[in-house]
Symmetry: C2
Subunit: 398 residues, 2 copies
């Protein structure tokens, strides 16, 4: 019925065991999982439903719509159909004997109105935030997940090759993005990048050519670009690509739910010296950070290594945004969502662990002029790191 | 700096006056507006910030990032820069003398964690749900807004023409969608459709060819299609378009923030008789509903008119989904979000009013066979309605 892709049962089993351990450590009796990506992670299906994850025992997947696909996709043992959320407390009592005392919810995404509904249904329970526990569990990728990301990286590599062979002057940012997205979709790109925060926007067309790259905006990113209008003021816009200008293409790939996030600088013709040097410096910073990645280092240390390198190369002003508008991170976790914990940020104490996957993006913004930078995805290994990205590290002169 | 498009100051002024009247009627002292689309509607900018809308007096726009663009885009008189949410209570006290007693929030989209932050900042205030008041205000479109939707409809018309001239067998659903989206982006299509609900997904590639149209899923829609994987189980997938099968293309257009949502049936060659008759019946139902639209009728009455017509034509089984999996609406409001209030639903009592804009989508699903249907956008006028849609009503035989 649907494409031949299924999360292996052992993945689902292991994920349940890991979150259950965390729930026990945090004295939470059960977790209520409704957000689509979390649901997919813990059950293998993204159909409309609710997963109840008890601190001990088997999880219960309650499907509102559509049961046949949930049964086909999920290896959860207990999958039942419900008419609406109102059926949930009764079903939980049926399966587990009673209602949990302390119940975790995804406070970072669950809207107040939905939460109030659940709170009324579980009258008397203590409702606590469980989202950080979910994200903490998702941080460490299994070998199977890494293999999925490798496949997405192959698709991204192929798409960057396509960009190199088709980029031409005169075409607009948004049209060119449409072309390479169409190419990628032919090989399974899902079109829609998953973003957790209700205010954040994720999209595959972050292409900032020449002056567009010098435009700051609302995004928590060094540059926002023009976007298509004030209603969507970020990413590609109507500016045509021009010869001899630095063109930043930040392309998000999603394949079977797993994301890759990569940036390369392009030029049609030859790059002005100032831009070329900035691109080369970004690559130096990128390589310097990678050389320092190892389990046990903190994300904050990596951030400071990137900043020190930028300063030593003479790029303190444009690095991570123009003065006064800098972002305070140089990378982010990545997986089933484009941006995941941990963020490689200034003040974060997360220790790197084997199995974490990151997008590393040292970028520079020369306000009203251009952006320069690079972005790769790497995996923390037992001894250091290795790139999951397969796109050649360099500047693409076309 | 950005594309030449700005929400006229008189629009912003009128919208403020309308919501302030509603706030007064509901005894709410002020409204806290943070969601991107609501912020854009009431201020003209979608930069990162918070709009405080008092029940009386001038609104205050507090921008976290990025002030120059907010100043350029918004005609709000009082725009100030803040470092973080923590500055907000102080700024409100500065501007209005004291903190409001009853404060409205967007409970339908605001996550619990964010709300808890605001609740602590406004300790002692009564916090209430104001989202329905926002949506109620946005329901009635101004002439300027209707003109924006007309422009989006022109872009959609042009894109459907493009589809007619390029559709061909062998190409996959997702690739064909990429092609027509690329075409549309050349003329300003924003790529990203706005969806309010954190669980809903909006995307422009809802193309269900042949058997894909017979696949139900988690979507609150008659059919979901395969999607690209279990991680994104809706919309177009990897199935190639085939000759002589009914192909449903449900295409969402967004131009300068305003949406159009239209569906047409295509066939490469000739449509099987069963599908052809179902397509024709859908058009009859569509026309029957339109003939009954007038101010004062309820959305529920329109829904029942569509169902009665389907029954009289002999299509009660497939109409609005296969038996057991039917949706209970035949259309929805549309504007700055793809789906807005009111929904043309079974149990809703909303009275139609001039200035409301709807997407009307009588669709049929023959499970495991195909979908048939049509979708147009119409405006409620003083005496009835008129189509905003410009795509010819009919079946596209290519």
């Amino acid at each position: 019925m649907i494409k031949d892709f299924k999360v292996p049962p052992i993945e689902i089993y292991n994920r349940s065991k890991r979150i259950q351990k965390v729930l026990q450590e945090n004295n939470i009796d059960g977790l209520f999982i409704v957000q689509r990506v979390d649901l997919f992670y813990f059950s293998g299906t993204a159909q409309n439903g609710v997963l109840y994850m008890p601190a001990e025992g088997k999880p219960l997947l309650m499907i509102i719509k559509y049961m046949p696909r949930a049964l086909e996709e999920s290896s959860i043992d207990n999958i039942i159909e419900i008419k609406s959320q109102k059926d949930i407390p009764g079903k939980i009592t049926d399966f587990y004997g009673d209602i949990p005392k302390v119940l975790g919810f995804e406070f970072d995404v669950l809207p107040v109105r939905d939460f109030n509904l659940y709170k009324n249904l579980f009258h008397g329970c203590e409702c606590v935030d469980g989202s950080h526990l979910i994200l903490q569990t998702r941080m460490i990728k299994s070998d199977w997940e890494i293999a999925q990301m490798e496949k997405a990286a192959e698709l991204s590599e192929k798409t960057f090759e396509y960009m190199r062979s088709t980029i031409c002057p005169g075409i607009t940012e948004m049209e060119f993005a449409g072309m390479f997205e169409t190419f990628a979709r032919k090989f399974g790109h899902g079109g829609f990048l998953r973003s957790r925060n209700y205010q954040a926007i994720a999209y595959p067309w972050h292409i900032l050519s020449g002056k567009s790259g010098g435009i700051v905006g609302f995004l928590d990113a060094p540059a926002s670009g023009t976007g298509t209008s004030a209603a969507f003021p970020c990413g590609g816009g109507s500016k045509p690509l021009l010869p001899n200008e630095p063109i930043m293409i930040d392309f998000g790939t999603v394949l079977n739910g797993y994301h890759i996030d990569e940036t390369r600088m392009f030029v049609i013709g030859s790059m002005p010296d100032k831009a070329l040097k900035a691109c080369e410096a970004s690559i130096e910073i990128h390589n310097e950070v990678l050389a320092n990645v190892k389990p046990g280092i903190t994300v904050s240390e990596l951030y400071h290594i990137s900043v020190s390198k930028a300063v030593s190369l003479g790029y303190s002003d444009p690095f991570l945004g123009p003065p006064g508008h800098k972002v305070i991170f140089v990378g982010h976790g990545i997986g089933l969502e484009l941006v995941e914990n941990p963020i490689i940020a200034k003040d974060k104490g997360y220790l790197l662990e084997p199995g974490m996957t990151f997008s590393l993006e040292p970028k520079m913004v020369f306000e009203n002029e251009f952006s320069a930078g690079i972005e790769s995805v790497f995996l923390v290994t037992e001894t250091g790191c290795r790139l999951i990205s397969k796109v050649p590290v360099g500047i693409f002169i076309c």
